[in-house]
Symmetry: C2
Subunit: 338 residues, 2 copies
């Protein structure tokens, strides 16, 4: 390996001078800069990141923590997309991106501890938000810079997060259904302890209330990424005396399952029942019918979260709430009834 010393020797300057031209220090003459740079080129020099990190006490890498593998949500294209968003800014800003996962919550905790206490990252992005999360607590305790993608359960205004306004989004998309003449609207969500599900359902009920449509308990169905239990649940809903004429589904992936189940039950979307959804995953465009869905700008969620920890040094002192705008993508899963 060719080090700073080698090129110093070759150029006849001191190592510190070389170090300075690497940093493009203004107090170095252009001619020595040129001379040194040529030597670097010739000898094939490349700065050792580890050594630099040790010297400057910063790694210019941020850790990205995935939910535990047990979490089914990991199958969601959401993650590829947000990783792309994060990667785009880490790359541009010359940062690296360290990915951490684990089978269990325990493993993840150990992992985070390792990279944080081991000074292996300068900041952390949490790609999940769980209630009473040890990781979050640890980060807060250590006063370590981190940002959560999604809304933290306990908004203790000591944590920065980037999220959509899912309540508003839920209301918007439900209102669209109402405006197009639907009034028996069901809601199908994922795990009911996820904040995102709760928020979207909240928006759903808000819209119903504003339109003076009664909220029926039997129209609220939760399903863990369906297929098994989901099927019967949907069948049940469809056998109600007042069968829904529309359904709000909290995730595109679930929508695909729902459409499949409806078809099995002999119902087609949107002729027999309209459907709206969230996320605007690639799939929502491809499936038949193409989904009318809320684009939550996943990529941007990633971008903003990365910017948050990198550009502004997140600290307990200046927590931020970054809300990414959403908008409705109108496609073919809603039938105008009036």
């Amino acid at each position: 390996m060719v080090t700073i010393k080698d090129i110093a020797k070759a150029t006849g300057v001191s190592p510190s001078t070389v170090s300075r031209v690497i940093a493009d220090n203004s107090r170095i003459s252009e001619e020595t800069k040129a001379k040194v740079r040529k030597a670097m080129e010739d000898l094939g020099y490349f700065p050792n990141l580890t050594a630099r990190n040790l010297a400057v006490k910063s790694t210019k890498t941020i850790g990205v923590i995935l939910p535990s593998s047990a979490d089914k949500s990991l199958q969601n294209p959401f993650f590829s997309e947000i990783l792309r968003g994060i990667g785009s800014v880490t790359h541009k800003l010359q940062y690296s991106m360290m990915l951490s996962s684990g089978q269990t919550e325990e493993e993840i905790y150990a992992e985070v501890q390792r990279i944080v206490l081991g000074s292996y990252v300068d900041g952390i992005i949490l790609l999940y938000s769980r209630l009473n999360d040890r990781v979050t607590q640890f980060l807060v305790e250590k006063d370590f810079p981190f940002v959560i993608v999604g809304k933290p359960q306990e908004v203790n205004d000591r944590t920065t997060y980037v999220d959509n306004d899912n309540i508003q989004a839920g209301e918007d998309i439900t209102s669209h259904l109402i405006e197009t003449g639907h009034n028996r609207i069901a809601f199908i969500g994922g795990a009911k302890d996820l904040v995102v599900t709760i928020d979207r359902m909240q928006g759903y009920t808000n819209a119903l209330k504003k339109a003076d449509i009664p909220i029926l308990e039997e129209y609220l169905i939760h399903t863990e990424f369906l297929k098994s239990g989901g099927k019967e649940a949907v069948e049940k809903i469809l056998r109600l005396p007042e069968r829904p004429d529309a359904v709000v589904v909290s995730d595109d992936l679930i929508s695909i399952g729902v459409i499949g189940m409806l078809e099995e039950s002999g119902l087609s979307v949107p002729e027999d029942i309209s459907l709206v959804s969230f996320n605007n995953a690639y799939l929502s465009e491809i499936i038949h019918p193409a989904l009318t869905t809320i684009d939550i700008q996943i990529y941007k969620l990633g971008v903003e979260s990365a910017k948050a920890i990198i550009e502004k040094k997140i600290g307990i002192d200046d927590p931020k709430r970054i809300i990414i705008p959403h908008y409705i993508i109108y496609r073919d899963s809603v039938k105008r009834k009036s």
Copy 2:
């Protein structure tokens, strides 16, 4: 920050002794070990990874390179899944996982150069394989340990890779169609310059030949993750005098699009036309009809690739071909006709 010196001082031993108990060196008495460990506990000591890395000249982290963001394939759940697989072994073996991406091929190249030349990673996993890839060439030149997931275009037996036997898989699934009584079988693939597509189509033609079924040019259709051009292409195929009674689709995601398009054309799967697919993404189970598809064990692809660079120190001297077995998942998208 509490360092090795601090706890040395506190315990009255030398820094090297402390270092040794960290490494659990056998030549340190149990009592000093205990004493030192207690001090570490009390003072909240945690080894600085960067410093250690510099000293031992190894980072215990492996770089994972995603295809350029331009690549549509990034939307594929494939990546989350393989990342999970890789992560499971890096985690278990106490390694870290550095994720690199970039908008363009150029960016990726710069990134790889940075982490390799900067000694930031001990090995590289390439999550793509492109023809005449600068990155691959660079890695080979530098004699840097790396492994490719998927089959390298030019199998120069100097590179280690982990892949499925996609030719065999293509033949297997096509044969299943033939055995169930189909004989007008079309093939729908993604970009035709992807090795995986080529291999699967090869298997498809192999199966046809073995069954003495003629291979029709007009039954071969390629589509870049359809919707736009894909629709008409499928419609065209359906209008042929000899309409196919089955179709082999090279990716679950594409299958979803295909099913959608068939429906739009008034055809249903598997009643009017059978469909088989590849990957066994989560979706293939959820959609209606549930897909008969090849499980390529994505997770395992990740696991094996990680094991390859970590456990055995990959080198030019011992390239390996690791083939992950595949198997057919029988579900509801194929109609038995005989």
